[in-house]
Symmetry: C2
Subunit: 658 residues, 2 copies
């Protein structure tokens, strides 16, 4: 029996019982498994179409070919699998399959929804059919060379010309050139442009405009448009992030998305409706980042944990080679990540429900969850995207040399996921927004001015009890209390610092920016870690057998112990925890490593990713990394067909003078 | 005056006074600056040879072209700059210029030195001329598919055939295929093969063999040889890491490097001389990783700090846009890295001297520094390579969207440096080796059995004092004591744990592997951090004016404070430090951020990297990132010359069904 099989025998829980928890329900699990089967089927069907294969060779190609191959892939996907864009799970599948497979991913994921929520019925009627036919294929053109996070300072102008009833879209400086929009480089023929609305020399803030940029027939840039691709990046090899410069381009006034703002023919600017409604719909896109992308971390961990079992190096006291997963340090690298992944998947499912609930409430003009939803999205977005990137990196490192090569499947996960830290709300700024909300809640709670939402922020209703809590002898039953304390005390310390600075005469904004940024960051992060543990526990309650519950609880507590060891300085500073307890947590942590180690293979395989989806020679289910790796080097590497003799001969002219 | 110029005005020390400290001396600084000028000159001279330019466009090309371009570059380098391989500083320059520029880098850096130290005079005479002429161009073929770190378990065999006086080199299984050697894929026609020597059915350990693998004239694989490139990786785009499989290949017995081991004609295996001599020479190569590669982190930081000053987002209380470096969180991301970089550069220079000193002593049969030198090399290798990779990553993240694109210069630094964590001794294993040494010293010191080397491990001679030390009220004067305590207490705790496990009946090897790995890891790391701070202080003493001393001391203490905040749990657990002091360290830390912020631009520019060496549109010395970035997107991006209309047209067949 091979070593991976042996490891599977040691798993003490029913792996099938965990899968539905990871996907939200039995039905959703089935949908996901169907995606994995689709992917497998797809790859098998197009075995003989090299451009469509996803082999490591892809990373040998030039970017033009890479770009084209993704187009071929999209076409083949549609042909072979009857690709329907409304099948959200399939859309998710393509993300798992490859973050950048989605030709028109930004278009369908960001531009169309924006038109739907910011456009009037008239506008939607006018454009939507062409949008679905890809006659209009737009990009989301917000970021400029000099401004990204600070959207209010965008410099592109949209000036209303009352004479002709048009807007003039213009790029006033190189700083204002649109830069980064995905699909702008080659694909898009329209752009949803965010620009400063100017009417009668007065600015009315940044608004959204539908601007044609390329001719539908020739696909050449329209007059006044300079457009192209910005160049190669770490990953996103086949995504054409672009630049766009306008020279006095005129569009009909009809083209400003006008559900919440309107310019009348005589130059009046009228605001209408509650833009919060639109915001609640836009949240649905951020939901993707929180619920879908973390699932790529399950890919990294499936690969790394399987390989760490199959990889044997150095002999043990019985003279046999050890799996490297036997080494405590290897467990320390991988198992806390696995525990964290579970907490993130479970929490993501909860956040998804919150976003949906908020959306449906907002439809009924109930905005009570809006701020809560925004705060939690910001914090989880920041926490989860850091995690995915960091997890990919440590999985890679834990695979030694092989982790550095594309055949391992790990580099691509890192390369395509690491920008998520920056895009869709830079993480730093996301954390600051959650922190702002937490400070507000804290002060409301302190003044007992308002009852805080119990479901999401219940800990603020127990401020006194939490503040008074002390841990003199750590046991695992105290973990939740410790994590709660960690939140409340860090907010308290931050708030005290803030007040002290303000009382000494500094303005609040300066305090915020220059004095307490790192405290705000850790307060927000501490809250999210607490929230993840809580969600983990709540999910365990849903498990339907005791073995599963036991293992998941062990995993949850491993996660919590790792968090407490890394980030418990506030607990020490606030006197919540004593030296004895810290030692006990450390012991508990290493003990949990030992307990989770034999379960690890079951815990990653509960995700049920098939070999085709992993795209890794070293992480396959049969536990035989070497044959496949060797095969890949020979057969999935067109460079070996090139004759490099001429350059080698030429190089012999280099005379070493040592 | 532009904002970067303004920032330079605020620097309070003489930047020129720091440069010699960073390069070891005025003379060495001059050599380095000459390299930078060479690079600039080189790039200017070949402005019209696109394959030789290093523009972001490089990352659009296919790997074959990338590979060829590096060959052209090497040739052009020689032609234009009279490239002499014995000019070590120039060699270093090419590393700074690009980690993978070095065609034959592994050959000159690893294979030739190995021949020199492991070969007999006769062997050196026989091969060396051909080596320098590149008639023999070898790769370093040690790692196999299934074994890397565990060199003793390599499976390739070299069986002595007494009849013919030959060795038969053979790959007995797919696991034993040589995998990863740089320059094996396309360039090499010889390989220095590490294989198990078998004489009369008895194994005599892994030895080194010179094996021809490709025909000199046709460059085709010789009979019995399967060879090629392993495929694309994260970085190292133009390095042909290869695979190599032998089927009973015969080589003359002369081809085993025989300075320390010999097989006689009648099949006797004779060991001769002290292989430590050879090991001391091999150390000189590791020295490169410790002293040269960290200098690429100065590139990342020069780019990130300049850009963080030029990048302005969000307005302050005066309504002006802030440089993002004004934000505390941005300082928190970058300034501890800058401080750490200085500690690493200064420490690297000291380790370099130690390696040289050891080498010269070994020539005189004095092996007294050998073990010390090995231990320090292991620890600094691990610490420094983690740092460079992590620093590149955070510099990238601190540059927002632009950091993700190759035009920023940051992705390449990460991609080409991150494998250093794994290669030339996997970091984990490096730390374990240092930890082993530290535990030994600790036990020697405890039994007062031996006086410990005062220069490098003096703290072990003060075991009692250090153990007794307590910090009740932190001041910066206590930093060194705290870092010493951190070392001694973590070793002590680890040692106690180890003894407890051994006393409870576990064998020492199992304790080591399964019980205390993470403790060993942090003991080793704590030692290196202490050693870095000590080296920093010693270097400050060499500064020739008080202003410089003051700023460098502030920087050193920022470094130390960040280390203490992250890794001081042992100090808490051992009762060395109280809650009050932790709070004081945290305050001290944020205060140091504020003090270093205005000096940061001076501290990075003291490295004197010119714009040509940075290869970044956003990090240039003129503080004008946007013009150059826009220019690069348009002019350094051949993809914009491709017509993608056909695929766009085809894609219009994708019908969305939303
Ligand atoms: C792969 C990729 C795809 C993209 N796709 C699109 C797209 O389709 N459409 C589009 O419009 N844009 C797109 N973008 C751009 C992206 O949205 C922005 O890059 C992102 O919003 C970050 O903004 P920035 O670049 O301005 O970062 P910056 O805000 O400039 O960040 C730089 C540094 O400053 C810090 N900082 C900034 N403000 C503050 C503050 N107030 N307090 C503390 N620290 C601060 C940040 O934390 C960071 O460390 C894409 C980017 C990438 C990388
Ligand atoms: C870019 C690059 C260039 C290279 N160039 C060359 C070359 O020119 N010639 C050549 O011969 N090779 C080369 N190599 C191979 C390289 O030397 C090996 O990959 C490296 O030595 C690591 O060994 P490994 O791959 O066996 O990792 P492994 O040792 O298998 O590491 C896997 C995991 O196991 C852990 N582990 C292993 N043993 C232990 C232990 N005892 N205790 C605790 N944890 C353990 C490690 O920490 C790691 O997390 C290159 C590799 C790369 C990436």
């Amino acid at each position: 029996m091979n070593i991976l099989e042996q490891a599977r025998q040691q798993v003490s829980f029913d792996v099938d019982s965990v899968t539905p928890l990871l996907y939200g329900s039995k039905e959703q699990a089935e949908q996901f498994l169907a995606i994995f089967r689709h992917i497998k089927q797809f790859l098998e069907k197009c075995k003989n179409i090299p451009e469509v294969q996803t082999s490591p060779d892809y990373y040998n190609w030039n970017r033009g070919i890479q770009f084209l191959s993704k187009g071929d892939q999209a076409l083949a996907f549609q042909k072979l699998l009857d690709f329907k864009l409304d099948e959200i799970p399939l859309y998710l599948g393509t993300i798992i399959y490859s973050a950048t497979t989605n030709y028109y991913g930004v278009y369908f994921g960001m531009v169309l929804p924006a038109i739907k929520v910011l456009g009037t019925d008239e506008q939607i009627n006018a454009w939507y059919k062409d949008c679905l036919n890809l006659k209009i294929a737009g990009c989301y053109a917000q970021t400029e060379l000099a401004h990204g996070s600070d959207v209010q300072s965008l410099q592109t102008t949209a000036t209303y010309d009352q004479k002709t009833d048009e807007f003039i879209i213009h790029t006033p400086s190189v700083e204002a050139v649109k830069f980064w929009p995905g699909e702008l480089g080659f694909l898009a023929n329209w752009a949803l442009v965010y620009a400063k609305l100017i009417v009668n020399n007065k600015s009315h803030g940044v608004q959204a405009f539908m601007v044609p940029i390329r001719d539908f027939n020739t696909h050449k840039p329209l007059p006044g448009i300079e457009v192209g691709d910005i160049g190669p990046k770490i990953g996103y090899t086949s995504k054409d992030n672009g630049y766009l410069k306008f020279t006095h381009c005129r569009i009909p006034s009809f083209n400003m998305l006008a559900k919440y703002i309107k310019v009348t023919r005589d130059g009046q600017v009228i605001r209408q409706g509650d833009p919060k409604v639109s915001y609640s719909a836009m949240m649905i896109m951020r939901k993707l980042i929180i619920t879908v992308y973390p699932r790529t971390a399950a890919t990294s961990l499936t690969i790394a944990i399987r390989y760490s079992i199959a990889r044997q190096q150095f002999t043990n006291d019985q003279g046999q080679e050890n799996s490297v997963l036997e080494y405590q340090t290897q467990q320390h690298k991988l198992l806390p990540l696995l525990a964290n992944l579970y907490s993130i998947i479970f929490t993501g499912l909860k956040v998804g429900q919150l976003v949906d609930l908020n959306f449906s409430q907002v439809q009924k003009q109930d905005f009570s969850l809006m701020a809560i939803c925004h705060a939690i999205i910001c914090g989880t977005k920041a926490n989860f995207t850091y995690f995915v990137s960091n997890c990919a990196e440590w999985c890679r490192l834990s695979c030694g040399g092989h982790g550095y090569a594309h055949y391992s499947g790990l580099p691509a996960i890192y390369q395509d996921n690491c920008p998520n830290i920056t895009l869709e709300g830079e993480n730093q700024i996301m954390y600051l927004q959650l922190a702002r909300f937490l400070l507000k809640l804290y002060n409301q709670a302190k003044q007992a001015s308002k009852k805080i939402n119990e479901t999401y922020f219940g800990l603020f209703n127990r401020l006194q009890a939490i503040t008074d809590y002390r841990c003199t002898q750590f046991t695992r039953e105290q973990i939740l209390q410790l994590l709660e304390s960690n939140v409340i005390h860090s907010i308290q310390i931050t708030n005290d610092k803030m007040m002290a600075h303000i009382n000494s005469g500094l303005d609040p904004k300066s305090v915020w920016d220059y004095k307490i940024g790192t405290d705000l960051w850790s307060s927000a992060n501490n809250f999210i870690e607490y929230y993840k543990y809580l969600s983990f526990l709540q999910t365990i309650d849903q498990a339907d057998n005791n073995n599963t519950k036991r293992v998941l609880r062990d995993l949850a507590d491993l996660f919590a112990a790792s968090i407490l060891l890394e980030g418990s300085s506030v607990l020490i500073e606030a006197g919540v925890i004593n030296v004895e307890s810290i030692k006990l947590i450390r012991e508990f942590y290493t003990q949990q490593l030992t307990i989770i180690k034999p379960e690890a293979i079951g815990l990653v395989e509960a995700f049920r990713y098939n070999d085709a989806s992993l795209r890794s020679t070293i992480g396959c289910s049969d536990g035989q990394p070497y044959e496949k790796t060797y095969h890949s080097a020979i057969n999935e590497n067109t460079l070996n067909k090139t004759d490099f003799k001429p350059i080698v001969n030429q190089l012999k002219n280099i005379k070493a003078r040592l």
